[in-house]
Amino acid sequence: MIIAWLVYFFALLIFLFVGLTGIHHAKKYRIKGDLTKKATIIYVTLMALVIIITILAVLKNGANAPLNLSNFRVNFYK
């Protein structure tokens, strides 16, 4: 599970970098009265929601639960 968390936080860092670059561009190149500020607020809010919901859901399910492949079952003949 530690590996899954590491992968998640690595991805989070990458998206943080790309997102912040976008926000920086939006601030730098916006024209007075345009929609970039609103779009940035929506983007940041949605990203924060996704991060919070993901972390809370994992914590609720068990942040250190062992990764056993036996817990993953596929049966298409039901």
Partner: protein
């Protein structure tokens, strides 16, 4: 802000590319956003996820949604920051290409020689969008505003504004002689 308005300058119109340019990206992002939910309801009776596997799945889903949201935001910025500003003095064309490439071209209205509107294809004709090409007397010979709405209307407007600008400059040049 990249566009600095001069004190005696009046912004006449701000033109962005037609919304048909970004509709593909929006549709793609919407499908990507809904897809996991649809797959969840389809596969729920057949797939069983428990414990750590379920936690890892949630983390994966979190990464997926962050990717889709960032893709949508960056794509939207690429579309929205690509803008042409037409003032009573000049045309400023700002071309945003991806996140890191940007070209800003400026042209004074007095240097305009020829303006043409160009509509291509069925979608362009039906939705009334196309390119406006401005020929100039300067070193930057051609100035293209691509996939913009109402290209014929805009080209006419640029010609009219060029005329007004020329008259204004001529008037300015005459004034010292009269006084």
């Amino acid at each position: 802000m990249i566009f600095q308005q001069k004190s005696n300058e009046d912004i006449k119109i701000i033109v962005r590319r037609h919304w048909a340019v970004i509709i593909g990206l929006i549709m793609f992002a919407l499908v990507m956003l809904v897809l996991p939910v649809v797959l969840y309801f389809i596969l729920r009776p057949f797939v069983q996820l428990k414990g750590g596997i379920f936690s890892a799945f949630i983390l994966g889903l979190g990464i997926y949604y962050m990717f889709v949201l960032t893709l949508l935001y960056i794509g939207w910025l690429d579309y929205y920051l690509d803008v042409a500003i037409i003032t009573n003095e000049r045309i400023v064309d700002i071309d945003q290409d991806g996140l890191f490439n940007r070209t800003v071209s400026e042209l004074h209205l007095s240097k305009v020689q020829d303006v043409s509107g160009n509509v291509k294809g069925i979608t362009g004709t039906m939705m009334d969008f196309g390119d406006v090409t401005v020929q100039t007397a300067g070193t930057h010979e051609e100035f293209v505003l691509d996939t913009i709405p109402h290209p014929y209307k805009l080209s006419k407007m640029i010609v009219n504004m060029h005329q007004i600008c020329i008259e204004h400059l001529a008037e300015k040049a005459r004034l010292p002689e009269d006084t």
